[in-house]
């Protein structure tokens, strides 16, 4: 009988350990670290690109009725709030995303708005438990989960990052990370 009890204790400890392992996707690899890595990478590329664009290009747009350089950066910042709010996250006091494109037109404004909006996503994502990320929700009429909204936001950010890169190229600006790669390749060849 004692043997059975000890076996059951061991079994209970093992099962508890299994719960901990199954729930532990806050660190290591997986969805959570992918989203956080992507936020870091996108924020850096966008803010570096915004810094690299000459001030005179901020009002450039490819054709009438299409967003200008500053409007694209401001739009990304605004939608970082708008999209995440669809997951039930409250907007910070005083943040009115619909005003961003008219309000933030200079380089300093755009970089600041982008940084704040990425910090907002990071904070809200870190404050959301794994259980809450799996909760069902609605995104513009489509059924998804809270985690799916963070993924949709990343897709939105990347689409406008691609647009911003094309805007930069149309204005003969090489994205800073590409310029760095080219410099490193040149240095390597020179060695």
């Amino acid at each position: 009988m004692k043997y059975i009890s000890l076996t059951l204790v061991a079994f209970a400890i093992f099962a508890s350990f299994a719960i901990a392992v199954a729930q532990d996707n806050s660190g290591g690899i997986g969805y959570r670290s992918d989203i956080l890595n992507d936020l870091k990478g996108s924020e850096k590329k966008l803010t570096d690109l915004a810094e690299a664009m000459p001030d005179s290009t901020y009002s450039w747009r490819p054709m009438k009725g299409v967003r200008s350089v500053s409007e694209v950066f401001a739009h990304i910042a605004a939608d970082n709030y708008n999209i995440i709010s669809k997951a039930g996250v409250k907007l910070p006091e005083g943040v009115v995303p619909k005003e961003f494109e008219k309000k933030y037109t200079t380089k300093a404004d755009c970089v600041d708005a982008l940084k704040k909006s990425f910090a907002f996503i990071r904070d809200s994502f870190n404050a959301t438990s794994d259980a809450d990320l799996g909760k069902p929700t609605d995104f513009y009429g489509t059924k998804t989960t809270v985690g799916g909204i963070y993924f949709s936001n990343a897709l939105h950010v990347h689409e406008h990052l691609g647009q911003s890169i094309a805007y930069a190229r149309a204005n003969n600006v090489v994205p800073p990370w590409t310029a760095e790669q080219q410099k490193n390749t040149k240095m390597k060849m020179g060695n």
Binding site: F11, A22, I29, G30, G147, L155, E159, G162, A166, Y167
Partner: protein, 197 residues
Amino acid sequence: MKRVTLLLLFIGLFAMALAATAQDKKMDMASGSSLRADLNKDLDEVEKKLTDLCNAMPDATLSWRPKSDVDVVRSVSEVFAHVAGSNYFLLGLAGIKSPDGLAKDFEKTYTKKAELVEQLHKSFAFMHDALKNTSDADMNKPAKWFGSETTVGGIFTNTSLHQHEHLGQAIAYARVNGVVPPWTAEELKAAKDKKKD
């Protein structure tokens, strides 16, 4: 003693049930049914936008590329070909085998509109099939994305992010060439028609 044994048995079973639930939640969020549905829906939308946009670009614009003083930037056709080629290459990082006989250099091989649209369709069909054939358990398996630790599911999501980045680039290329993306043209027409009513 019997009571203690029963209690421990109960704790053990309860803990196992909790572990199973926790694992289900992880898969649902990270690589299970919800992510699969999100990915499938997104693949459909991006495929439609890219192929509609490619069809809307006049043939004369397919070789257009932004001017650069220091390097060569992808042309319109090279962007579409790059998306198609990368759909195979990137899933290869998850150990998913590409079909036999693929062109070695999509950007040099496919330059015409019909070819680009066909290659885009084929590459998205490949992604849909790959997603269908990857079990939830396999989606959670570790993988590497250009040196970063991720999962097979992460390779699928990163491939979608890659598509969106180049979709944004392709839209901007279209606008620079005076082309309104077809879905925007449709929205504008619907808004105009509504005003008339």
